[in-house]
Amino acid sequence: MASQDRITTGGSSSESEEELPEPVPSAPAAQESTQTQGVDDLLDEIDGVLESNAEEFVRGFVQKGGQ
């Protein structure tokens, strides 16, 4: 649950298996390959369509059970 996630994050330990990448301040400095360029384009495109309040939107997606 979104709310639980946040509690876990605040709590501390949750990132056991995944190394957090250095929070690179999105400087496009040394990105030269066209592939990286493609990924940047893609993320720009997705940034433009992502729902604006991620946390609230995700929390609001509640479904009833199905098969």
């Binding site: 876990t8 949750s14 298996e17």
Partner: protein, 547 residues
């Protein structure tokens, strides 16, 4: 439309079922879509689902085609009959297992909720003129595809379902007084709930069910590596952060069982053939993820059809897993694909290695004159497994979970996001958003980042035309030609009400390969009206529909 060569037709023009190693057999898919109305957070989901059904009905009435907004004919539905040979007591069943009763909210209750008179015509069920069913299943709109005979057609008519969903969604958005709904082709709300996408395969009844189950369990446990849809979050309650390969895996708790909504089993034993019960069973597969990638979907049904063929020939490998449910979860939780699971003979194998076992068995059994589509599925399967061994990320054009993971990893790298970041959860959710502008898969497809197998023009046609080679043709065409006279329908029957006749006439379609265009098109073309059609159909020694 041409969907690839078919091999070894029987004299009646019917593709073989249960003969030889081939991808051809009667099959179909079912998709329960996730649904919300963002502006109405407390909206009743059954009510929203009924809006989808009714919006599509309104679109059809405006000229896209005909429909039977009819009673579903439950006469032949037996959801509590177990393939292992017994029936579950109705009193012991979970209420959601009683799928032969109507939905929780009745049409009358919905009309009341909408402030309309109870007799206002709210539709909960449509049979479409492409032979599909669009209805309210518990709290989700569900599209059940028409019966098709091969994986490429399965992809096409599954995609047609997405188009139906999109059409309904756009209609609601454009209707004054209605709050827009968003439909998602995914399988969990990532809180605690899962909803299904099911596959159905026609299998000869002569194959003992335990033989099917023993070979299918390890196949289904490992199949996710080629067709999982990817999920952010681990555990049924999303209690741990991380990424996993499958949307559905964590919601499965049993190896074999009758349930589909609680204690979900890897092998579902519902024995409801919707066909001649003495000859066939319908294998009801509940473990798949809903796919957006057409190649994932194609391989999901194509490889499953091949493994069924192996089982029928007695050629399937049976790598017995020590703990299939645990193995299912373990494989799903490792996107590096290196986790191994234990077999009862002591061997440790990865999900990819398990898949290779089945792929090799197919290659060994494949006839030299295998048809084009069978060969295509096998070639793609083999090539994909090689790619997955080398570097899974190279398969992003073909596999949902990998395409999704690639986007997620790009976000993590650019913005330094932890797996707990709500933006990653949003990417996961919005990947499955069916809106053409907002959906991330839709964006990837438009950018040319994924391989497409079916032409959008064919998808548009498949949304309004039935497949020509199964009884879906008969169903769809009856609805197209005689919408006023068809008052009830199901997979294996159509009910006609003829003017001036007091009795309803029920036409059974219990043989899935009859009722095809080859057998009934002329009859439809020649008949003057419904009465004439039925008279022609039911007189004489005719086996165009039922056996």
């Amino acid at each position: 439309m041409d969907t690839g060569g078919r091999r070894a037709r029987s004299p009646g023009g019917l593709p073989p079922v249960g003969q030889g190693i081939s991808v051809h057999r009667v099959m179909g898919t079912e998709t329960e879509y996730g649904i919300i109305a963002p502006a109405l957070p407390s909206a009743n989901s059954t009510l929203l689902s009924s809006q989808v059904v009714n919006a599509y009905a309104a679109t059809l009435r405006e000229g896209l085609g005909n429909l039977a907004g009819t009673r579903w004919d439950y006469t032949d539905e037996t959801p509590l009959t177990d393939a292992r040979g017994y029936r579950m007591d109705r009193a012991r069943a979970h209420p959601s297992q009683l799928t032969d009763e109507s939905e929780e909210l009745t049409a009358e209750q919905i009309a009341l909720e909408r402030g309309e008179p109870a007799e206002a015509a709210v539709l909960m069920n449509l049979v479409l003129n492409n032979g599909a069913r669009l209805y309210v299943d518990h709290a989700h709109p569900e599209y059940s595809s028409p019966e098709v005979t091969n994986p490429l057609d399965a992809v096409l008519w599954d995609r047609a379902g997405d188009l139906v969903a999109i059409t309904a969604m756009e209609r609601i958005a454009a209707t004054p007084g209605f709050s827009p709904v968003i439909l998602y082709k995914n399988n969990t709300d990532n809180k605690s709930v899962s909803y299904g996408s099911h596959e159905n395969y026609l299998v000869p009844r002569s194959v003992p069910f335990p033989k099917l189950a023993e070979a299918l369990i390890p196949f289904f446990v490992s199949r996710q590596v080629i067709c999982g849809a990817g999920r952010v979050g681990l555990g049924p309650l999303n209690q741990e952060p991380g990424f996993q390969i499958s949307q559905r895996a964590d919601f499965f708790e049993n190896e074999i069982g009758l349930e589909t909504t609680v204690r979900r089993p890897i092998i579902n034993t519902r024995d409801e053939p919707h066909a001649v019960a003495e000859k066939y069973r319908r294998l009801h597969v509940i473990i798949g993820d809903a796919n957006l990638h057409e190649v994932s979907n194609y391989l999901k049904v194509g490889t499953t059809a091949l493994v069924l063929a192996l089982i029928e020939q007695g050629l399937a490998p049976v790598p017995v897993l020590e703990d299939p449910v645990e193995a299912l979860h373990a494989i799903s939780h490792d996107a590096s694909l290196t986790t191994t699971v234990r077999l009862t003979d002591g061997r440790m194998m990865t999900g990819v290695e398990l898949q290779e076992l089945y792929c090799e068995a197919v290659l060994a059994a494949l006839p030299a004159d295998a048809d084009e589509q069978t060969r295509d599925v096998v070639d793609r399967w083999q090539a994909l497994l090689v790619t997955l061994r080398r570097d899974p990320m190279d398969a992003a054009r073909h596999v949902d979970w990998i395409a999704k993971l690639k986007v997620l990893e790009a976000y993590r790298a650019r913005d330094g996001l932890a797996w707990t970041d709500p933006r990653l959860a949003l990417v996961d959710l919005q990947y499955a958003d069916l809106r053409t502008e907002r959906g991330i898969y839709q964006r990837l497809a438009r950018r040319g980042d994924v391989e497409l197998l079916v032409d959008p023009a064919d998808v548009a046609r498949a949304a309004v035309e039935p497949p020509r080679d199964t009884r879906a043709y008969f169903r769809g065409r009856c609805i197209a030609e005689y919408p006023a006279q068809v008052v009830g329908a199901s997979w294996d029957s159509l009910i006609f009400e003829l003017p001036g006749e007091r009795r309803l006439q029920r036409v059974q379609t219990r043989e899935p390969l009859r009722g095809s265009a080859a057998l009934t098109e002329e009859l439809f073309d020649a008949a003057a009206d419904a009465e004439d059609f039925l008279a022609r159909l039911l007189s004489g020694p005719d086996r165009r529909v039922s056996p």
